[in-house]
């Protein structure tokens, strides 16, 4: 694969790198907050990827109505919609995760997921 492909599709490249970073944080970090941050980075990477896919240079956003007569003048709204939805989803997920984290911290006074699992094992199921 020629290197030129990488910088010609700069957004995609960055997205993939970001995804990798987020992914590794999610998997490797034991701290719950960091995991959540990793998750967010990962999501962001996906949105970047999507947005860059959906953008066609020279076209307009589909909300501009003035003087547009043809469908081809717009960029496709779907990727943008997907990104927007994704952001909403990610926000809500983050919220839930943080809420869970608060719960867990109140209960076990640590954020280390392995430690928590260990402590929980001692409890009655």
């Amino acid at each position: 694969m020629p290197w030129s492909l990488l910088y010609e599709n700069l957004e995609q490249t960055v997205a993939v790198i970001l995804f990798g970073i987020g992914f590794s944080i999610l998997l490797l970090q034991r701290n719950l907050i960091r995991k959540i941050i990793g998750l967010n980075i990962m999501d962001t990477a996906v949105y970047l990827f999507l947005a860059s896919m959906g953008y066609i240079s020279g076209r307009k956003a589909p909300i501009v109505v003035d003087g547009v007569t043809e469908v081809t003048a717009y960029i496709n709204p779907i990727p943008a919609g997907l990104v927007l939805t994704g952001i909403v989803v990610s926000v809500s997920f983050t919220a839930i995760m943080l809420a869970l984290t608060v719960r867990l911290y109140r209960r076990y006074h640590t954020l280390d997921i392995d430690e928590i699992a260990m402590l929980a094992r001692g409890e009655d199921a």
């Binding site: 995804f19 987020g22 992914f23 999610l26 998997l27 719950l32 995991k35 998750l39 990962m42 999501d43 996906v46 990827f49 999507l50 896919m53 959906g54 496709n76 779907i78 990727p79 919609g81 997907l82 939805t85 994704g86 989803v89 809500s92 997920f93 839930i96 995760m97 869970l100 984290t101 719960r103 867990l104 209960r107 076990y108 997921i113 928590i116 699992a117 402590l119 929980a120 409890e123 199921a125």
Partner: protein, 498 residues
Amino acid sequence: MTLVHNFPFFSILLCMAAGIFTSVFKARVSKILTLMVVGTVLVLSALTLRLTLQLEDAYPFIMGHFPAPWGNEIRIGRLEALMATGFSAVMFISLIAGFRHAESFVSEQKFNLYCIMVDLALAAVLVLIFTNDLFTVYVFIEIMTIASCALVVVRQNGHTLVAITRYMIMHLFGSGLLLMGIAMLYGITGHLLMVPLKEAVQQIVETGNHLGPLTVVIALITAGLAIKSAMFPFHGWAPDTYAFAPPVSAAILSGIISKAYIFVLIKFFYRVIGLEVIISQQITQFLFVCGVAGMIIGSIMAISQRDIRRMIAYSSVAQIGYIYMGLGIGTRAGVEAALFQMLVHAAVKSLLFLSTYELINVSGDRKRFHYLHGAGYRNVPAGIVFTLAAMSMVGIPFTGGFIVKLNLAISGIAIGGWVRVMVLLALALSTLLNSVYFLHTVVSIYRKPAEDHIYPETPKMPAYAGVTLFVSMLLVVYLGIGSEPILRVIETGLKTFS
């Protein structure tokens, strides 16, 4: 277009609307409302099924004003209608028999919130069954994930919290993969609706352009859905989540929601990529191996459990393995068997979770096997239901499990070669292992309890719960005896599924 044509759309709307309204109701009202909604969805789905059986082919239902490829539409065929009917039936049964257990975990004021989540989960399941659009798929998968998270986490318990954290992490990861896959697919085809997508994919395959990215797409989406449906070896989150969730939630999660993901996967295979492409990409072989491994290892793990709920949860991993093995066989017959197993397992697993909880209940809320001795006598209906469900798991004739095994075996034997050997051996071994842990449990609940175990008096199981359990037991038996028409629906439905 008759009224019935609109029913799937109605039922989706009904669930979502009910979700919204329930937020202002009191616990009791919201409970009744939810039951009514689910019941109505069941009836509507059954009517839809009847309609689709009269129709030759599936019909699209356009939501909004734009036709494809811009607008959003759902597709209603026999298979979809069957799944919707089956899942809503299982949900209805689970709710009737198990709602009262959820009450013990959720405070009175917040119970309506629980009901919202149930409504949303059902809505998401229905949408995933009917949708024709990958975008919608993504959105509702997320909704389903959140809803099911909430269903589990109503139980305020260290174990549950830890389990749900794991669950969330794995599911978010899976969502990420899925979204990435959808994005890339859009990147190489420019579509998100399934019908044009398939044409585009066929073009890609024919021209050979972008074949590499297509493989990545398939891998990403398959992996994402596999994680979410707890396929071995991505099952790590599942046992704890199922085991420590309230019984209704466990029944819904394990019985219905995990199946919805798999149904999406089947849809993706058939309606987006095309089975031939999938097979040529050797994804099916990967699924097959994972399925077989899951059947065996899930069962072995289940044997080593001391907590009955974890045992049943691990058995879910094994049963999901059956489904993936069916998919992995890669023939239409294999997928048919897998689809049938989805229905059977949905029915049986929810029965198992519910009856187990009744048994635990009469054993002083203790879950270890040796405390469960004699539970079958303390709650006779639950004991009988559990026994029958266990038999279905083992695959005793006259239960659904037998037909599943039979169809899987026949579809495996038709392949020949090592697949045949693997399928037959895996089935035999899995039967043996299943009998080891399930029938061991059955024996346990009918054993004489130890002298020093004192079982506190517990309120009797209400009659309606017993009746419901019995009815669903009949359902399992029906799946074993009257499987022919159902399989026929699956077969014809799958034919029109591309």
